[in-house]
Amino acid sequence: MNAQQILEKLPYSKPFLFVDELLHIDENGVKGTYTYAEELDFYKGHFRDFPITPGVILTETMAQIGLVCLGIYLLGDQNTHAKTAVVMTSNHIDFLKPVFPLEKVIVTSEKVYFRFNKLSCNVKMENEAGEIVCKGTIAGMITEKSHE
C-alpha cells in the first residue's frame, strides 16, 4: 500500500484533515507533514488577537499521521474491501514550543507495539527549524469494518 492509497483511505476531510503528505511509511513507523492554513477557524478564538495552534489540534495532527495512517498501512494489505476504523484510546503528550499559523510541521511516529488490534506509538512533531514542538505516546484500536 503506497502513501497515496493511505491518504485516500483517511476518514477525515476539511476542516479536520491534518495530513498533507506522507514522506515515508513502513511497518515500523511513518513520517508526514502538515501546514496549518491561516484561515483555520480555531485561530479566531485561540487566542483572541494572538493565534496559536491549540494543543488538541497538535495532538490530533500527530494522531492522524502517526496513528491513523500507520494503522491503515498495517491493516491495509489484509483486506482491501474493508474500511479501517481507528479510535484513539489514550495519549500522553508534552508540549515544548508554540506552533503559529502557516507553520509546516513534520510528524515522526515509531511503532511501540501492534497487538490484538491495539497500536501504540512514540510520536514527535518538529517545526521547519528542526526543533521538537511536542512529543509523547499515542495509542488506539485499529479495526476493520466490512461494507454492509
Binding site: 484510546t89 497487538r115 488490534n117 484500536m141
Partner: protein
C-alpha cells in the same frame, strides 16, 4: 501467591471500579463488572504475558473476558512452558 491475586494487581491501574476489584472472584467479568475497555484489556494481556513469562495468541486473547477464563489461559500457557 495465587494467580487471582497477581491478576488483581495487574488489573488495578486499569479499572475505576475499586469495589468490584476488591471483591474479585472467578465469576468477575472484566468488561461488565470492572468496566475495562478493549484497549485496556490489551494492556492487561500484555502485562499478564510479562508477569508470567508466557505468550498469548489471538485465540486465547479472545477467551480472556472473565477472571475464570483468564486464569485458565494462564495455567494452560504455563503448562506448555513447563512441558
Amino acid at each position: 501467591m495465587s494467580i487471582i491475586n497477581d491478576l488483581k494487581e495487574i488489573i488495578k491501574p486499569y479499572t475505576e471500579n475499586k469495589i468490584a476489584l476488591e471483591n474479585i472472584s472467578e465469576d468477575t467479568d472484566l468488561l461488565k463488572d470492572l468496566n475495562i475497555n478493549s484497549a485496556n484489556l490489551v494492556d492487561i494481556v500484555l502485562d499478564v504475558e510479562e508477569k508470567f513469562g508466557i505468550t498469548i495468541d489471538d485465540a486465547s486473547m479472545n477467551k480472556m473476558l472473565t477472571v475464570k477464563a483468564t486464569i485458565a489461559v494462564i495455567e494452560e500457557k504455563l503448562a506448555q512452558n513447563a512441558g
